[in-house]
Amino acid sequence: MSQRPTAARQRRLGRQIATRLGWGALTLLGTAALLLLLLHLSGDPAKAYAGEKADEATVARIRVQMGFDRPLAVQYLRYVGRALRGDLGRSTLYDQPVAKLLWQRLPATALLAAAGLAFWVLVGVPVGIYTAVHQGRAADRLGLVVAVLSYSIPTFWLGRLLQHELAWRLPWFPVGGYGSLAHLVLPGLTLGLAGVGYYMRLVHTSMLEVLPAEYIRTARAKGLSEWAVLWHHGFRNAMLPVVTVLGLDTARLLGGVVFTEAVFAWPGIGSQAVQAIFNLDQPLVMGTVLLTAALVVAANLVVDVLYYVLDPRIRDGEERH
């Protein structure tokens, strides 16, 4: 108790990260196996590559060249072996290395995801705090309505609506595409609005749990201004569950990105994956899904570390509150 066990804490964090990484690797291996099986059952990538018109002999030769003629287990082991060296195979649609295609598209997706995430946090958190503080008043009710709308309107539909109103009827923004800040506004808004309601309510609820806490009263008793009470004592404690959910939500964020990219012709890995699925581009679909899975694993790892930073109790090995 008396001396601060820094080394022990770091060991604990290290162990935790190693465990997470181990599970993450197993998840990825399992995902790859399942995916390969599903894609195998869904059709012949060689036929998709060669097109409907190609003759039997041509398709057979292409199948051999691409290695899709081998037993599934062999394909799996070969895939894993290559993936470990950073080679995710070759897209059948574009006849290019999958890793390169993903790498080319990743910045656009990251930009959009970051914009959406920023919207969730920068709008969701303040509004959530505001409605929590003004619980039961008009602002709170309005916030609730907005939140319910936000998570009940499908992303795809919301995107089309914004596109129609703000790009076509009122030509303020580009209809779609990529290249300037103006292009980011509508997709970012779509993704942001689609998820922000959830965070508004989450922060709201979390804040309502924190506000009656005695340490908030202590802070007030110190003579702190209401703003300082909320910011220094309420906010950080209210953020703990929000951070957890944000980590788990990476998957939802990426899902929203796929729809948003499709609506706004945003050239990210999502719209590329849609093309890949339609064209039965097995390696590209596998690569995209595995990359996404790896991102989700990584996000959860970041949350673990962030939790460690935010909550001193976790550092000493207590359970999450």
Binding site: E214, Y215, R217, T218, K222, L224
Partner: protein, 269 residues
């Protein structure tokens, strides 16, 4: 007179009706004096303390009465004026030190916060004074422990931090709301000792809120007994224990558990 409460009434809005919580409380605390406010839980004593601090919940209203601090009326003071008093001139010691301390900030920072707020000065100076305050309340190795988080301290140590936070700005009036209820019996005595010593050193007025007549007997000069929002009995501590006037007070006295006896003996050693 440091604190003068006259005919205070507090009600809570419940739907369309008003539920009275305190009705006609009057008491006064002089500098260096300890006044016990005694009653069962829910009798209105904590609400009264919050009214003095100006921290009543939004649902509460004060239909009548007066609270004067150092001669100035608090109930009509501006929120900013009341904020300036809180922590600086009137301080609170809370019941459960674990709940009352913010789990995500080091205890030193929580003490330094109040020092900086009311005294200004640099972060480093405030930290040094916070360490001093922690030393004053008897936290062992305060320079080191100031970096600890609440969950790393024992219950008694946490309450010492709570007291340090309260006395850091040398308030004239200390409000202690059940300061030992959440603590082990052995620690209770130490904390009471500490309170007594600090009060004497700094000539603070102490409003001691408790359901525990044993503690009142230890510390208080004057006692006010409340029941269901009303004052039942009000007199000096000696006469009250010797000859309670009201049946309710007698009942309370009879209910004092025997286990408090060792506390008296320890305290008198």
């Amino acid at each position: 007179m440091l604190l003068e409460i006259r005919d205070l009434a507090i009600s809570f809005r419940a739907g369309r009706t008003l539920q009275p919580a305190v009705d006609g409380l009057s008491l006064s605390v002089a500098a260096g004096q300890t006044v016990g406010l005694v009653g069962e839980s829910g009798c209105g004593k904590t609400v009264s303390a919050l009214a003095v601090l100006g921290l009543l919940p939004p649902a509460a209203t004060v239909p009548r009465g007066s609270i004067r601090f150092d001669g100035a009326e608090l109930l009509t003071a501006t929120p900013a004026a009341r904020r300036a008093l809180r922590g600086a001139r009137i301080a609170l010691i809370a019941q459960d030190p674990l709940a009352a301390l913010n789990p995500v900030h080091p205890v030193g920072a929580q003490v330094a916060e109040v020092i900086r707020l009311h005294g200004g000065g640099t972060r480093a100076a405030a930290w040094a004074r916070a360490v001093e305050a922690l030393r004053e309340v008897g936290l062992p190795d305060p320079a080191q422990r100031a970096h600890d988080y609440p969950h790393q301290l024992s219950g008694g140590q946490r309450q010492r931090v709570g007291i340090a936070m309260a006395i850091a700005c040398r308030p004239a009036l200390l409000i202690a709301d059940e300061p030992t209820t959440a603590l082990d019996v052995s620690v209770q005595a130490q904390i009471l000792d500490l309170l007594r010593r600090l009060q004497a050193e700094h000539r603070m007025g102490l409003l001691l809120i408790t359901h525990d007549l044993g503690i009142v007997a230890e510390l208080a000069d004057q006692v006010t007994v409340m029941r269901a929002g009303r004052v039942v009995e009000q007199q000096a501590v000696g006469p009250l224990f010797a000859a309670p006037r009201e049946d309710y007070t007698k009942g309370l006295l009879a209910a004092v558990p025997r286990i408090d006896r060792p506390v008296e003996r320890l305290a008198s050693v």
